[in-house]
């Protein structure tokens, strides 16, 4: 029995990746939940908005790299991020003006908005593939690790190493900063309060003189910021591939629904719930258990509950369980 090594192995293979993935999902789910709360529909194009923002960031990163610009040990993509955000804001505001505004004026049913977002999803997906191609793109540079497994072993003298990738560290720190800024904005500023008021009760908000166009515009801008950051962090951590981003839709929606659609706090909690259940259920526990259990009880097999290909099944299973027992999500969500 060796609890310290078990703990380090657990941190290395479950906690650190789970935290990073959870932060990425939480940022994605925040975007979905804001659109749901304020524009009142499930935006199926969100995964592709993330892909678009990431793509623009990658293009700027490549440009900067070709000019020899770098951010020291940090990835150049962080320098390119503001530009990616800017272009994505223009894109979503353009989409809103050209496509969604018409249906808002008509007061169309939410399901019509969902259909329209399917069309937007196709268009964005096609656009991204057209510009950058359907293949895998790696764009991370700078220092790869904050702590290397070997350095950690030498430092502590333990048998297990703990590796933390720079991208994982950046993901968690960025997520904390972004979430703090978002909550400050929603709770303290006048605009943020008007957004929450609009989300709680549209008619009452209109009566009290809140300008709906402004609320909608600011929502889209925030969503573009969140989507680009989430997408870029995910791309830095893993890699960028348009189809993968489209598929992120499922865990992101699962996170938003598990937390309670329309509730920002819930989106964050949901992101971590989904991420940690995916990682823990598809992780082979043999190593950790070998350390943690007495030798007589050490397992023979891998002790992997499900193969990694079933990670969608996990996020979906959690989704169903929460919906059956707590239909509005862990934190109280809203329903249209």
């Amino acid at each position: 029995m060796d609890y310290l090594n078990a703990l380090v192995a657990l941190a290395n293979f479950v906690i650190v990746p789970g935290l990073a993935y959870g932060s990425q999902l939480a940022l994605g789910a925040l975007g979905v939940t804001l659109i749901y709360g304020i524009l009142r529909f499930s935006n199926f194009a969100h995964g592709d908005t993330m892909a678009f923002g990431t793509m623009v960031t990658i293009l700027f990163t490549w440009w900067f790299q070709s000019m020899g610009l770098s951010f020291g040990p940090l990835p150049t993509a962080l320098l390119a991020l503001p530009f990616g955000i800017g272009v994505t804001i223009l894109l979503v505001l353009g989409t809103d003006k050209a496509i969604y505004a018409f249906y808002r004026e008509q007061k169309a049913k939410p399901v019509i908005f969902v259909m329209v977002s399917l069309g937007v999803m196709f268009m964005m997906n096609g656009l991204v593939r057209f510009i950058i191609g359907p293949g895998d793109q790696r764009f991370s540079d700078g220092e790869r690790f904050l702590i290397k497994a070997r350095t950690f072993k030498e430092m502590t003298g333990l048998r297990e190493g703990l590796a933390i990738k720079t991208s994982q560290g950046i993901t968690v720190i960025t997520a904390i900063v972004v979430v703090a800024a978002l909550f400050w904005f929603l709770n303290k500023t006048r605009t943020g309060k008007s957004m929450r008021a609009y989300s709680d009760n549209e008619d009452l908000a209109l009566l009290s003189g809140i300008n709906p166009d402004r609320v909608v515009m600011i929502t889209w801008m925030i969503v573009a910021v969140l989507a680009t950051i989430a997408g870029t962090l995910y791309g830095l951590d893993k890699s960028f591939k348009p189809f993968t981003y489209f598929q992120l839709l499922l865990p992101i929606f699962a996170a938003a629904i598990v937390g309670g659609l329309g509730n920002p706090l819930g989106a964050i909690a949901g992101g971590f719930v989904i991420a940690f259940s995916e990682v823990t259920i598809t992780y082979a526990w043999k190593k950790v258990l070998n350390y943690a259990l007495p030798d007589a009880l050490a397992p023979d097999g891998l002790v992997q509950l499900l193969s990694t290909d079933y990670k969608f099944a996990v996020s979906f299973g959690i989704l169903i369980v929460v919906l059956l027992f707590k239909p509005t999500g862990l934190f109280k969500g809203k329903s249209v």
Partner: protein
């Protein structure tokens, strides 16, 4: 122009496009009847899928984005029905797999019963949890060795349980039944939820079905694919070696190779048309029956329908099962046409969302609209690629030969397909939201 005339013209227009594809070359057309028939065959299958979605969405307003899953289940049915059983697989572990699956299902039922029968409290939660966790490990203890035993049998070409060795046409209704069973399970859990949740639920189920097909090698060989499935029609090579067929082909002035390929494709086209007509007739009867009126009443105002004594959730479940079964039939037909099951090729954009474009463009709530949309959008899906290339070549004709941008644009032209589908969907929703053939 009366609506009937207009709608007939629309159908004639789509038929005209297919004839142009077969008869003329140049622009985006290839001038090959083989190509025209390939498009027609998949178009007919798409039309049947669109019919299934239309029954759920157009009749009852259910938002199902899990079409891909039901299609794949139909494909699985072909493997399970038509392939011969792998010799020794059942003795090696097949029966244990089945027993383990039954045990797994019983564990779930026991957990549900425990929750229903026991008084609320900590004890109930502990017992439920215990049943589920204990059941899972016992299940894996029986399941895993049986699976390895089956997968060890000649893994290069077999390594799965195989099927029942029945005629392949039987797989079509069986595919429908399989999809219906899955739909019943999903509907039982998810139909009480709001529309958005149902959408996400079906999206997730479809991904899970594909994940199972990809990973459970004992069932469908996973990503190793099942190829060479039995066909309901003779092979082209056999026809070419048949003197009487060659003679008949010569009477039409065709060479045997062309005649045999056309013969097989026409055969499929006739079979698919027959299925489509039967399903279309049934859907029309259903739509115009009291049952269809009730469904539309529920769709338009659930509260009012419920007040009239209609059991909304039960009716929703019913129509969800029926629509999904139709998608399952179409999926089985598609796998029969390809004569292979390749789980890696199922993609939600192509198998779920494209079907939705078909339904919306054709006209939701109208069965003929769904059929028209199915064939038309499938034609466009195929032809947007050469069309995009044509447009790009025209647009870049002024650029220097071999410039990087020009090369990139020409290479990427194929991806215009998704963009165009999105554009069509958005334009139709904006300017003609009721579709080409609107609901009456």
């Amino acid at each position: 122009m009366t609506p009937i005339l207009k709608h007939s013209l629309l159908f004639a227009g789509v038929a005209g496009l297919l004839v142009l594809e077969g008869a003329t070359s140049g622009f985006i057309f290839t001038g090959s009847w083989n190509s025209a028939l390939v498009i027609l065959n998949m178009g007919l299958i798409s039309a049947i899928m669109a019919l299934g979605v239309n029954i759920q969405w157009g009749f009852a307003g259910l938002f199902n984005v899990g079409v891909m899953g039901f299609t794949a289940l139909g494909g699985l049915a072909v493997v399970l029905t038509a392939t011969p059983a792998t010799s020794g697989a059942w003795a090696a572990g097949g029966s244990n797999i089945v027993l383990a699956l039954i045990f797994g299902a019983m564990t779930l039922i026991a957990a549900v019963l425990a929750r229903q029968k026991m008084p609320v409290g900590l004890l109930r939660n502990l017992v439920t949890f215990g049943i589920l966790v204990g059941g899972f490990f016992i299940f894996r203890a029986f399941f895993d060795p049986a699976v390895s035993a089956v997968e060890a049998i000649n893994p290069a070409i077999e390594g799965s349980l195989g099927g029942l060795g029945l005629p392949v046409l039987l797989a079509w209704p069986i595919g429908g039944l399989l999809a219906a069973g899955a739909a019943w399970l999903i509907g039982k859990t998810a139909l009480g939820l709001r529309s958005d949740y149902l959408a996400i639920a079906t999206l997730g189920i479809a991904e899970i079905v594909i994940a199972v097909l990809k990973n459970e090698d004992w069932l469908s060989r996973g990503v190793k694919n099942v190829v060479g499935l039995p066909r309901p029609l003779p092979f082209e090579v056999d026809l070419q070696n048949d003197p009487s067929f060659v003679e008949r082909a010569a009477n039409f002035g065709l060479d045997p190779v062309l005649a045999s390929t056309l013969y097989v494709k026409l055969g499929y086209a006739l079979m698919f048309t027959a299925v489509l007509i039967v399903l279309l007739w049934m859907s029309q009867m259903a739509l115009n029956s009291p049952w269809g009126r009730m469904m539309r009443a529920i769709r338009d105002n659930e509260v009012a329908a419920e007040a009239m004594g209609k059991h909304v959730t039960r009716r929703h479940l019913q129509i969800f099962v029926i629509g999904s079964a139709i998608c399952g039939i179409a999926g089985a037909m598609m796998t029969t046409l390809d004569s292979q099951l390749t789980p890696g090729t199922y993609n939600p954009l192509r198998f779920t969302f494209l079907i939705w474009v078909m339904v919306i463009v054709g006209g939701s709530g109208n069965n003929f609209g769904a059929v028209l949309g199915g064939v038309l959008i499938w034609f466009l899906w195929i032809k947007v690629e050469p069309l995009g290339l044509w447009v790009i070549e025209l647009a870049t004709s002024g650029m220097a030969e071999g410039s990087a941008l020009k090369l990139h644009l020409i290479e990427s032209a194929a991806h215009m397909r998704l963009f165009t589908m999105g554009l069509i969907l958005v334009l139709v929703l904006r300017f003609n939201p009721r579709g080409l053939i609107p609901e009456r």
